[in-house]
Symmetry: C2
Subunit: 353 residues, 2 copies
C-alpha cells in the first residue's frame, strides 16, 4: 500500500479538504498513473454531498474524480499497452466482471454484476471503496486505462473521459450522421460536447436551451440553429422533424415537448438523469412509434475510439482550469451552471494542499 495526497469529503456536510489515502500495491496487470488533470463532473458533487442517497449512498471518505489524465509512472510485468512515461487516461470505471455478455461486448458500463466505478464502488482489491482522481495517482488494471492522443491539450482531454464518452456513445449507437437533423438539449458539460460530436459526425445540429445568452456559443461550437425551449412557437416550428434528440438536462423538465419534435420512429435519448421520474405521455410515444431511451457513459473500447477520434479531429472540451484549493467554490458555481463548460483541476496544485 502507498499513502498519497488527495482531496475529498469526510462527511456529506463537509467541504472537500486535503487528506491522505492509500493506493493498492500494483499487480502485474496494473498501470500506475501520476494524475496531471482531473475534470469536475456534476456526479462528483452529487456523490460528495450524498445527494444520491436513495440508490447510491456515499461511502466516506469520498474522493471524487473520474475524468483523469496523467502519465504512467510504473507498469506491472504483464502490462502490454503502456510503458513508463506514456500518457494515460481513466474514466468512470476501473473494473468489471469480464464475463457477462455486456463485458464481452466491451460495454462494461452495462456489466450485469455492475462495473467497479472509479469512486464509491466496493473495491475488490482493498475491501474498502474506490477513491477517484482528486488525488496524486491512481492504480488501475490496464484494460481500464486509455491511450491519450499526443496532439491534444491535456487539460481539455480530461472531460472527454465522462462528458465526452457519455455523448459520443449514444450519437454513435443511434448512427447520427450526414442528412440527419439532431437536437441537443442543454448546453452544459455534456451538451457542449454533444454539439461538437454531432457536428463532427456530419449532422445538422439544433441546440435547445432556456438561456438566450448561450446562443453565440452554441453556434460557435457547431449548432446551425438555437431554439429557446421556453418559447412554444419556436418549439412548434420543429414539430415532427428530428431524427434524434440527445437530452443532457438533469433538472426536471417536460420531455413530451421534445418527443413531439421527433419524426416517426425517432429516438430521444437521456444522458442527464433527473432525480424525479419523468412524466411521459403514452400518446406522445404511440403516435409516430417514437422511442425514449437512455445511455450511460461508454465501454473501454468505445472510449478509446472516442479519444482517437478527438485526436484526429482536434476535439477537446471547453474548460476552466482551477487549482484543487478552489474545488468547493467550483461546486457552488456548478450548482448555478456557472461554468463554460467544464472545470478541470490542475493536479499540480495538490502538492501545495
Amino acid at each position: 500500500m502507498n499513502s498519497i495526497k488527495a482531496f475529498g469529503a469526510s462527511a456529506e456536510t463537509s467541504p472537500l479538504a486535503a487528506t491522505t489515502i492509500e493506493r493498492r500495491a500494483d499487480t502485474d496487470r496494473d498501470v500506475r498513473i501520476d494524475i496531471l488533470f482531473c475534470g469536475v463532473c456534476h456526479s462528483d458533487l452529487h456523490q460528495a454531498r450524498n445527494e444520491w442517497r436513495d440508490f447510491m449512498p456515499t461511502q466516506y471518505p469520498c474522493v471524487p474524480g473520474h475524468e483523469i489524465v496523467g502519465r504512467v509512472s510504473s507498469v506491472g510485468s504483464a502490462v502490454t499497452k503502456f510503458k513508463k512515461g506514456d500518457l494515460a487516461a481513466v474514466g468512470c470505471m476501473v473494473d468489471s466482471c469480464g464475463e457477462c455478455a455486456a463485458c464481452k461486448a466491451n460495454e462494461e458500463m452495462y456489466c450485469v454484476k455492475q462495473a467497479t466505478f472509479t469512486y464509491n464502488s466496493p473495491d475488490p482489491h482493498t475491501g474498502g471503496h474506490t477513491l477517484g482522481g482528486y488525488s496524486e495517482a491512481i492504480v488501475v488494471d490496464e484494460k481500464f486505462a486509455l491511450k491519450v492522443p499526443k496532439n491534444l491539450d491535456l487539460a481539455g482531454v480530461a472531460p472527454l473521459l465522462c462528458a465526452g464518452i457519455t455523448t459520443y456513445s449514444p450519437l454513435r449507437n443511434w448512427k447520427v450522421g450526414p442528412g440527419q437533423k439532431v437536437g441537443i438539449v442543454g448546453l452544459g458539460g455534456l451538451g457542449h460536447m454533444a454539439v461538437k460530436f454531432a457536428k463532427a459526425f456530419g449532422a445538422e445540429v439544433v441546440l435547445f436551451t432556456t438561456s438566450p445568452n448561450k446562443t453565440e456559443d452554441a453556434l460557435r461550437l457547431g449548432a446551425s440553429q438555437v431554439v429557446l425551449s421556453k418559447d412554444p412557437e419556436q418549439m412548434a416550428a420543429h414539430t415532427g422533424t428530428f431524427d434524434f434528440i440527445l437530452d443532457a438536462v438533469s433538472a426536471d423538465h417536460d420531455v413530451n415537448a421534445y418527443i413531439n419534435l421527433l419524426k416517426k420512429d425517432g429516438t430521444m435519448c437521456l444522458v442527464g438523469a433527473p432525480e424525479k421520474p419523468l412524466a411521459v405521455a403514452s400518446f406522445a410515444l404511440i403516435f409516430g412509434r417514437k422511442r425514449l431511451s437512455g445511455s450511460a457513459i461508454g465501454g473501454t473500447e468505445e472510449t478509446q475510439e472516442m479519444l482517437d477520434f478527438c485526436g484526429k479531429h482536434g476535439i477537446t472540451s471547453d474548460i476552466e482550469i482551477i487549482p484543487i484549493q478552489k474545488i468547493n467554490e467550483a461546486y457552488d458555481r456548478l450548482v448555478k451552471s456557472d461554468v463554460k463548460y467544464r472545470f478541470v483541476i490542475d493536479m499540480a496544485s495538490l502538492a501545495a494542499a
Copy 2:
C-alpha cells in the same frame, strides 16, 4: 346519400340506441360493404362516452365501431381490388393524405395530416364527421378496404382489424422471432392477440397479469410462462432477460418494473394508452440503454399482411358474440374486463333494432 340503420350515442351520457345515419353516394373508387360483424373495442366506449374529451372530443351523434367485416354490395367504376360479393374488412382508418412520407410508406396511421379515422374524424366527403361500423353498411375508398381470407371464422376476424393489427405491427417492427424472450403485459383484447402472434412468430412468450385466474388461458393461447406482476419475487426472477415487452394495459401501472426486466438494448412498447402520464425513472432507461416506445394500429399494407398471415396460420380472436341490443351491457362488462376476449356484434341483429 343513403339512409341506413345504425346504433350510436346521441350524447355522452346517453346509452347507445338505434338511429338512422346517411352514407355518402359511392365515388368511382369506393367499395360499399354490408356489415356482417363488428368488434367492440375499448376505444368505442371511450369515444361514445367522451372520455377522451381533452385531446379527441366526441362529435355526436357518435356511431363507434372499427373492427368491421362484411360483404361487398357494390363497387365504383375505378375499383380493382374488389367485386360485388367479395368479403371485405375495414379497420380504424378510412382515408389519409396519401402524400406524406408516412402515407407513402403505407403507414397511414402516422400521416402528418392525421388519417381520417373510421369514426369521429372530420369527413371530407360529407363535411360532417365519420360514423363507424355499428351500422348496416359502410362506404370506403378501396385502399382502406382489406381482403379477408376465406378460411377463417368471420366473427373472429373482426377484432383482427384493431386488436390484431395493433399487436401484430409492433411485434413485426421489432422483429420478434425465434430465440427471443418476449413479454406480453395484460391478457385482454389486445394481449390475447399479442400472445397468439408472438407465439406464431416463434418467440418464447411470457404473460404478465394481475389475475391468477388467467393462467390457464394464457398457456392455452401460447404463453410458456405466466408471471403475476403483483408478486415482486416472480418479477425479480426475470430481471434483465427480455428482448421485447409489449404492454397492452391501459390502466395506470408501474412501467419501470417492466423496463427492469429488459435486457441491454431491449424495448418495451406501449399499445395500451393510460390516460395519465407514465412515471418513468430515467435511471431505468440509462442503465442498459433500454427503450420505451409506443405503436399505433398499423398501415393498410401491414393490415393486409396480418390478415393473410392469420389465414395461413388459422388465427382469429377469441370472442363472445352479442346482438347489437346488448351493446350497453357489453360496455359495462368491458369496464370490468369481463370478456374473453372480445365482444363481436352480429350485425344481423340490427334489422330488429
